[in-house]
């Protein structure tokens, strides 16, 4: 068969190879890449070509370069920075509503497909939440709370949903962290979590979605209460 043309440019080929190395964990997050000279030899391309490939991945959020120091892997997925860039142009409420969409769907699917392992993981998170709450360990509480929600989404068995949810949560993390430190959520949130777990255990999708929505609304109200100052701050940060 005759190949009409090299459909892909050299730069794209190199970028693709590097993306695969990252995806396949051969270059894990935090890894420092070999210097440009070595990569040139390894890929058999000139410095310009290699640099254009690297720059493409830097812009996509996969790599990070520091002059004089080197290049390192920043993230294993492109979605993160793309979503981040888009979310910065939106209000926090809009971002929260998208996260709510994902979480409700995830809860519903989790109720349909959850395994015994999923249930055990969720239970463990609730226990951890309760323990942290009783000891007033805010940091541990937040971690366990986030882990609970993540496990719900994981139980949905949809990796794409997991990815999107994780990134949306990451974007909102700074705010969530501040808000979750407040007192009341330590109580009400827990009860809803229990109800949600029960709905998932009993495989009642509608009910699970409802409790997920309930939990999100509690969080949404809290965040919106503290929105004024945080929102200003965000805008300032975005401004420059």
């Amino acid at each position: 068969m005759i190949r009409k043309t090299h459909r892909k440019s050299l730069v794209e080929q190199v970028a693709e190879q590097m993306e695969q190395l990252i995806e396949q964990q051969q270059w894990t997050v935090g890894t420092k890449l070999p210097p440009e000279m070595e990569l040139m030899a390894e890929f058999g391309v000139s410095r310009n070509t290699l640099r254009e490939a690297i720059r493409a991945l830097v812009h996509a959020g996969l790599l990070e370069t520091k002059q004089g120091s080197g290049t390192l892997v920043r993230s294993a997925s492109t979605l993160g920075s793309a979503l981040e860039r888009r979310a910065k142009k939106s209000t926090m409420l809009e971002t929260l509503e998208v996260r709510e969409a994902l979480e409700k769907q995830a809860a519903q699917l989790a109720a349909e497909r959850r395994t015994e392992t999923d249930l055990a993981n969720l239970e463990a998170c609730i226990q951890s939440c309760r323990h942290a709450s009783a000891h007033g360990d805010v940091e541990q509480f937040i971690a366990s709370d986030l882990q609970f929600h993540k496990n719900v989404v994981l139980a949905s068995g949809n990796p794409l949903l997991v990815d999107l949810y994780e990134h949306m949560t990451g974007i909102l993390y700074a705010f969530i962290q501040d808000v979750l430190a407040m007192e009341p959520c330590l109580q009400t949130g827990q009860e809803v979590h229990l109800e949600l777990l029960e709905a998932i255990r009993k495989q009642e999708p509608e009910s699970a979605a409802w409790y997920a929505a309930r939990d999100m609304n509690i969080l949404k109200e809290m965040i919106l209460d503290a929105r004024e100052e945080s929102y200003e701050e965000t805008n300032r940060n975005i401004g420059r």
Copy 2:
């Protein structure tokens, strides 16, 4: 105030400027960019720097270069190609479930916030659907059907949701197109659309979400029925 360092490299600055030009529609989709020599002069950077910036945007899906011809604007948003790249690694069912998540949430929000204009638009789409269905105009029917769903999401008043929904729909478009051409959906789909519109008109969020889910499930079943052959084809396309 003292500027510590040039936080951003020249390449990033140029890329950012070009992104703004695209975002602000000064460079609209399809526009041919000036040749590299002119851009070099305009931005005041060397050829390498400019090319690295261009390459970053090409990789992000915003630009497209053709040797010997020139560079043109391919898309106004980065999200599209990032989502596309991620979705290609997932099954169609997973993608459908994400789209379902967005659509249900959109229907719910639309029921809360819809304006009279939104209702009029939705009504017009349904009329158009009915007309096309009566005349057996499949192409027109599909267009109107997609437009109806898009208007539902638009009525949610959440631009981020709209963007994500649009891109997910775009990814699924090829399949949707094939499936919608089937007979039965011309009937059942219409009824559900009417019910959904009524729920939105009466501002009943839960009901609206339910009908949106119902509509998605009809589509989902149809697609999954025709999945075997389409799925194989997809894998072949993805393969190379």
